[in-house]
Amino acid sequence: MFIKEYISDVYRAVSSLLKGMKTTGHYFIRPKEIITQQYPDNRAQMKLPERFRGEVVMSHDDNNEHACTGCTACELACPNATIKIITKFDTTPEGKKKKALDTFVYHLELCTMCNLCVEACPTSAIKMAQTFEHSVYDRNKLLKKLNQPGSKLRAGVE
């Protein structure tokens, strides 16, 4: 019947709307469900997983020594020309000339954090750091030199 259909239509519509309001009302009276993270305030508690890829860094040990031989495997693996390795020739105590790393240039502004350089590195000299707050006012500050001044190749790394 027409009237019956009309009324059941209205009833179904209203009950579906009330169901939706129940859901939002449910959350309104439960402030515990709030999931907002107050980001700059929670820096202390915030811990990023160890695999998170924030930027490429070169690990140095206590003697200011790194494991980069300057083989340019990372430079070749990088799809964006983010890495530029400048090598020099060191003279070993025996008097032989040996290729060594001079400057590891890293363009953070070009990097897409694809991890291919870290995968390619044969000596695990570089790794991904968990930092992510990279904003600076000057673009030149994103151009980084990864090997620390005065650092040299760790003995035994070929």
């Binding site: 179904r12 939706g20 859901t23 939002t24 997983p49 695999r51 799809p79 954090m113 291919l116």
Partner: protein, 388 residues
């Protein structure tokens, strides 16, 4: 002419006799530009819409605002390198894009993938699919004017993102797939966290139905809106939930199973309505099916290697290789022409968004502007996927 006959044959009453669409003859037409900056286009899509009052006469999509020539870029990158670029196509199913490329390279190399890597890949694909559909659900509801679902959807999506972050190292553009397997093994916490997520998801998915699916306003907004018939879906090449919403069985996971999809049981969701509501239902039900796949696999990850041994420099033999996968939006095809070198000679991506967008003009004619939002929402357009 063909199109008009087709429209009449498929029983559309949208067009009045004479097919007067361009209609310089009758005045009162309004041409509005929706986009490239517009809240409803979710990106830089530019639609030139011819209106008669509020009724859409014609839609002309203008592309290219986010064209980055990914296909051309790939030609200068090696087979390891080009995979990460494809994350930037359909950024919501980045994993699945990478997967398609990895599959194609592996096809060329005739590489055998370890079973553990296969399962991990499928798990990641399905989690990505859920995440993508979650975002779609929230954004679609927002297009229709309901804001709150967006936040509920993001709450669940965030959990997936956290899982991804822990295992893959990134939240959106993971670059986890490499030719021969995956980049690292899964994180020790992975299985536990995924199980927690399954529990959370099963608790919350009913909320979605209460808030949006069952809502009378939502149903009125989507039912019978933007009807795409089965024939049209096939002729426009619509795949994914758009094709399946029109009753076309086009799930690549069923038709051409890759990895372990032939070993898990799941249903291909097919709705025959062809309207926006059918497309909506397909995606909502697909989320449950994805959860089903994840549930089956999460405890059955075989032991072994996560990556096959590959050479440092990959060289594909001379020839043409094609692989396809089912992304969250439909069929993604990767076509590589190799001349035997270290970089592809030519790469072509068959992206699902492009084909789905092509149906937009056809199915929106005669609808109101408000309907356009429902139609675009259920087509689930990701603009970088269309432009590439």
């Amino acid at each position: 002419m063909y199109r008009e006959t087709q429209i009449i044959n498929s029983g559309h009453t949208i067009l009045s006799a004479g097919g007067d669409l361009g209609g310089a003859a009758d005045g009162g037409e309004l041409v509005i530009n929706v986009g490239p900056q517009h809240p409803a286009t979710h990106g830089v899509l530019h639609l030139v819409i011819t209106l008669q009052g509020e009724t859409i006469q014609k839609i002309e999509p203008h592309l290219g605002y986010i064209h980055r020539s990914i296909e051309k870029m790939c030609e200068s990158l090696s087979y390891r390198q080009f995979i990460y670029v494809t994350s930037r196509m359909d950024y919501l199913s980045a994993h699945i894009n990478n997967h398609a490329c990895a599959l194609c390279v592996e096809k060329g190399l005739q590489l055998e993938i370890p079973p553990r890597a296969r399962v991990i890949r499928v798990l990641m694909d399905e989690l990505t699919r859920i995440a993508s559909h979650e975002l779609w659900w929230g954004a679609m509801a927002m297009d229709l004017g309901a804001f709150t679902p967006f936040f509920y959807a993001f709450r669940e999506r965030e959990t997936i993102n956290d899982i991804m972050e822990e295992t893959c190292g990134a939240r959106l553009t993971m670059n986890y797939m490499v030719p021969g397997g995956v980049m690292y093994d899964i994180h020790p916490n992975f299985q536990k966290r995924v199980k927690d997520f399954i529990q959370l998801f099963n608790n919350k998915i009913d909320e979605y139905d209460d808030l949006v699916t069952g809502n009378i306003i939502f149903q009125n907004r989507t039912k019978g809106v933007g009807v795409l018939t089965k024939e049209d879906a096939i002729s426009f090449g619509c795949t994914g939930p758009v094709g399946r919403g029109s009753g076309v069985p086009c799930d690549i996971r069923k038709l051409y199973p890759y990895e372990v999809y032939d070993k898990v049981s799941f249903d291909e969701i097919i709705e025959t309505g062809g309207d926006s509501y059918a497309r909506y239902l397909v995606r909502i039900k697909e989320m449950r099916q994805s959860i089903r796949i994840v549930e089956q696999l999460i405890d059955n990850i075989p032991d072994g290697e996560f990556q096959a041994k590959t050479k440092a420099v990959l060289k594909l033999p001379k020839g043409e290789f094609y692989s396809r996968v089912e992304t969250a939006r439909g069929e993604l095809g990767v076509y590589i022409v190799s001349e035997g070198g270290t970089t592809p000679y030519r790469i072509k991506f068959r992206s699902p968004g492009f084909s789905n967008l092509s149906a937009l003009d056809h199915i929106s004619r005669g609808s109101k502007i408000g309907d356009l939002m429902a139609i675009m929402g259920t087509l689930d357009l990701v603009i970088p996927d269309i432009d590439r």
